[in-house]
Symmetry: C2
Subunit: 440 residues, 2 copies
C-alpha cells in the first residue's frame, strides 16, 4: 500500500477531529497507550459489540452469554499458567534502570538507547505482563490480585454454573465481551496494541474427537462474520500458527489477519485449547469439571474447547481502516468512511437547505421524530450544503436528508446516499422508517 | 417488610439457580465481594444499560456519549482530590496486623475481634480506597496508576475534546457507562456494595446561575426514569444530603433511595458539583477549560456541572428486588419476577404441549424464527406444562407460547401473559411480531 504511515496519521487525525477516539488524559500529556472513545467512537464500538452479540448469542440456541468480573481469585492465574508463564524477557540499564525487551533491535549493540551508557545490560530477566493490585485494606502477598489478562478464564471457572443454570448440553458455547489488561512493553499502532483493551470471546465446549470438525466450523463462521460487516475480503487472510508458535495450551490455532496500513496483523484468533483449561481448574480447585451426558451417566469427559477470541478495539480499527476512502466526487476531494450502515454511529443527518422559509422548523420536526424513535441522527444547519455533506461523509453517516424548497410545496425531502451519492425524493413522514429499515 | 433477610437469601438463591448472578471464582471459594453475571443476568444488565443510554443519549439532542478508559493519568486523581482525600480511617491490630474501620462497633472495647488481643489498637491511620497498580515494566512511584474510583473524571478531562468535535453548546451533557473500582473495607449486601462495579453517569455542563434550575430538572427526570421501568413508587424516595454530608465538591446533592430488603439505601445520586472539577483540572493541567460562548466571545466561564450518577449493579438489584413476587396462582405457589418486558432477559418461551404429534417440530420452527430475528427466546419441552411455566416465571419471561392440539388444525398457538395469566390464541405466523411489539 502507498503512503501507509501517512494513512495512519490521517486516520488518527480524523478520529480526533470527528470525535471517534481521543488520547486518554490528553490534557495531562496522555497515558501510555490508552485511548478513550468519543461520541462517535462509542456508538461505533457499541454497534460492533451488539452485532457480535447478536450473531454469537441471540441468533443461536447453543451459545450462552456471561459477564464475569475483571478481578478474579488469584489461584485462577496459577491454574491458567499466567503467573508462571505470561512473561517477556527484559534487560535493565545499569545506569538509568530503564528496561527493554531483550529482543529489541535498538539494544543489540549493548548501548542504552535512552541514556547512552555502553555495555549497559546484564542477563535478561523474566517480567510478568499481568497488572497486579491489592484487594482489601492490607498490602501483602496474600491480598495480591491481578487485572485479568484475558476474559477466557472467567468463562472456564463458570462452566459448571452455566451448565447447571441453563441445562445446555455439549456441544455448546459461552460468550463474553469485556475488558482485559496487559502490561505490554511495546504498545503502539494507535488502538492496535494497548495496555487496556476489550475482548469479544466465545469458548465452545465439545466432545474430544469432534474438536477438529468444530474448529473448522468456527474458523469458517468467524471469517464470514467479518466479511458480512463489509470488510474487503482481499485484505483478510488466515495465518496458521506453526508448531513453535502454538501457545502451551493449544493444539491448533489460526489468526484472522487484516492488512493494516502498518502491515498484516491479527485481530482475531481461533484456537483449539483442548481440555487444558478445564483440566487445570479441576486440579487447582479440587472441583469436578467433567461433563456427564444426561442420556448416559457413564459417558463422562472433560470437554475440549474451541475458542474464538477477537479484539474489540482491533476490530474497530479494521472497520475504520477499511472504511476510510479518499475520493473525488462532485468535482471536489472528499474523505468518506464507508461504514456498514448497521455500524455507523449516526444513521442520518437532517439538513435544512437554508436557514429560512420555515425549513429549519420542518427539519427540526423530522429530527425530533428520529430522536423519539431512539435513532441517532445529527441536525446541521451551518455552512453550505456541500460542506455539510463532507462533514457527514467523514462521520460515516449513511443518509443525508435535506429539507428544501420543494418540501414546502409537497412535503417531500431528498435522501442522499453516502456511497452512491444518488438522491431520492420521499415523503417526509416516511423518512424514519426508510432509515430504520436500512440501518438497524 | 417481613422476612427481609429471608427475602435477600431467596433472591440470591434464585439468581444463582436461574443463572442471573454467580459468585466470582466460586470454584476457588469466591472472591471478596465480586460477582459475575450469568446468562440471564448479562441480558438483564445489558437491557438496563441500553434503556439508560437510549433515554440519556439517543433520545436527546443535548447529551453526547463517551467511553473513557479505566486507567488514567495519575495527575487526574490529584486534581480530583482522590489521592489526598478518598480515605477511610483504619486501625491495625498490633498482634495479627489485621485492619478495621475505626468506626467499627465490634472494636469499641479495644479488643481485636479476630485474634482476641486486648488493647490491640493504636491511633487510626488513613487508608486510601483507590486500587493502585503499576504501568510499564518498572514498579516505582513514577509508574503508579489507579483503577478509576469513579467514571466522572473521564468525562471532565474530555470536556474540551467533546466540545470541539461535536460543536455542542452549553448547556449540554456527556454520558458514560463503565467500570469503577473501590477497595471497600466493608463490602456486602450481594451486588449492592462491591469492589468492582459499573456506573451510568451523566455530567451536564451549564452556565453558573442556571445550575439550580437544571438541578431540579435532572432530579425530576431521573426519578421519572426509574418509575418508567416499573419500579414501585412507594419504595422510592429522595434523600437530601445535609451540609455535613455534602462531598467537598458539592453544593447540593440528593440520593434516590430504594427500600431494599436490608433497608432504605441509595442507588443513584444527583449532584451539583459546581465548577470544582473543571477548575481543578485547569489548574493541574495548565490547559484552559473555559467555555466561550460562540455568539459572544467575551462571554466566557467555567461551566457548573449537574451530575446524575447511578450504580448499574445497584439498579439491577433494585429491578430484581422490586420484581420478586411470591404468589398463589392456579392452585399452587409460584415465584415470579415481574420484570418490565423491555428488561426481561428472555422475551418468550416456546413450548410444545407434548413431545409428539409433530408439536416439537412446529415449536422448533417458531423458536428458530425468533432467533433469526435476534429476539432471545427459550425452547423447553421437558416436564409438565405447569412446571415449565413456573421455570419461565422465575426467569421473568413475559410470554409463553404453547403449541398444542389445536395448532395442528388451525395453525394458531396460545400466548400466556406472565402477569395476568391470560391466554390468547393467535396465528403462529404472527407471534414474532406480537412479542417484538411488546418487549423491544
Amino acid at each position: 500500500m502507498a503512503n501507509d504511515n501517512d494513512l495512519m496519521e490521517k486516520l488518527v487525525s480524523l478520529c480526533k477531529r470527528r470525535g471517534f477516539i481521543f488520547q486518554s488524559s490528553e490534557i495531562y500529556g496522555g497515558t501510555g497507550s490508552v485511548w478513550d472513545y468519543g461520541p462517535l467512537g462509542v456508538e461505533l464500538k457499541n454497534n460492533l459489540k451488539a452485532a457480535w452479540w447478536r450473531a454469537m448469542v441471540h441468533e443461536r440456541d447453543d451459545v450462552e452469554g456471561i459477564d464475569a468480573a475483571i478481578l478474579m481469585h488469584p489461584r485462577v492465574w496459577e491454574a491458567s499458567g499466567h503467573v508462571a508463564g505470561f512473561t517477556d524477557p527484559l534487560v535493565e540499564c545499569r545506569n538509568c534502570h530503564r528496561r527493554f525487551r531483550a529482543d529489541n533491535p535498538e539494544i543489540q549493540e549493548g548501548q542504552c538507547p535512552v541514556c547512552g551508557t555502553k555495555d549497559a545490560f546484564g542477563e535478561p530477566r523474566m517480567f510478568n505482563l499481568m497488572f497486579k493490585t491489592f484487594m482489601g485494606p492490607v498490602e501483602e502477598a496474600a491480598a495480591t490480585v491481578y487485572l485479568r489478562p484475558e476474559t477466557a478464564q472467567g468463562i472456564f471457572v463458570n462452566f459448571q454454573n452455566v451448565l447447571t443454570a441453563t441445562r445446555q448440553r455439549v456441544p455448546f458455547g459461552i460468550a463474553q465481551i469485556g475488558k482485559a489488561f496487559r502490561n505490554e512493553i511495546t504498545p503502539g499502532n494507535f488502538i492496535f496494541r494497548t495496555r487496556e483493551f476489550e475482548q469479544m470471546e466465545m469458548q465452545f465446549f465439545v466432545e474430544p474427537g469432534s474438536d477438529e470438525e468444530w474448529f473448522e466450523y468456527w474458523k469458517a463462521r468467524r471469517m464470514e462474520w467479518i466479511v458480512s460487516l463489509g470488510v474487503r475480503r482481499e485484505r483478510l487472510r488466515f495465518n496458521e500458527h506453526s508448531p513453535e508458535q502454538l501457545a502451551h495450551y493449544a493444539k491448533r490455532a489460526f489468526d484472522i489477519e487484516y492488512e493494516f496500513p502498518f502491515g498484516w496483523n491479527e485481530f482475531e484468533g481461533i484456537h483449539n485449547r483442548t481440555d487444558f483449561d478445564l483440566r487445570r481448574h479441576q486440579e487447582y480447585s479440587g472441583k469436578r469439571l467433567e461433563y456427564i451426558d444426561p442420556a448416559d451417566p457413564n459417558h463422562r469427559y472433560i470437554p475440549y474447547v474451541i475458542e474464538t477470541s477477537a479484539g474489540a478495539d482491533r476490530t474497530v480499527l479494521v472497520i475504520l481502516a477499511d472504511a476510510y476512502r479518499e475520493e473525488e466526487v462532485e468535482g471536489e476531494q472528499r474523505v468518506v468512511l464507508a461504514l456498514d450502515p448497521k455500524l455507523a454511529p449516526i444513521k442520518a443527518a437532517v439538513l435544512p437547505l437554508v436557514r429560512k422559509d420555515g425549513m429549519p422548523e420542518i427539519a427540526e420536526r423530522i429530527h425530533r421524530r428520529f430522536r423519539e424513535a431512539g435513532i441517532p441522527t445529527a441536525y446541521d444547519d451551518s455552512g453550505s450544503i456541500g460542506r455539510r455533506y463532507r462533514r457527514q461523509d467523514e462521520a460515516g453517516t449513511p443518509f443525508a436528508i435535506t429539507v428544501d424548497g420543494q418540501t414546502l410545496e409537497d412535503d417531500t425531502v431528498t435522501v442522499r446516499d453516502r456511497d452512491t451519492l444518488r438522491q431520492e425524493r420521499i415523503a417526509a413522514d416516511r423518512v424514519v422508517e426508510y432509515v430504520r429499515e436500512r440501518t438497524v
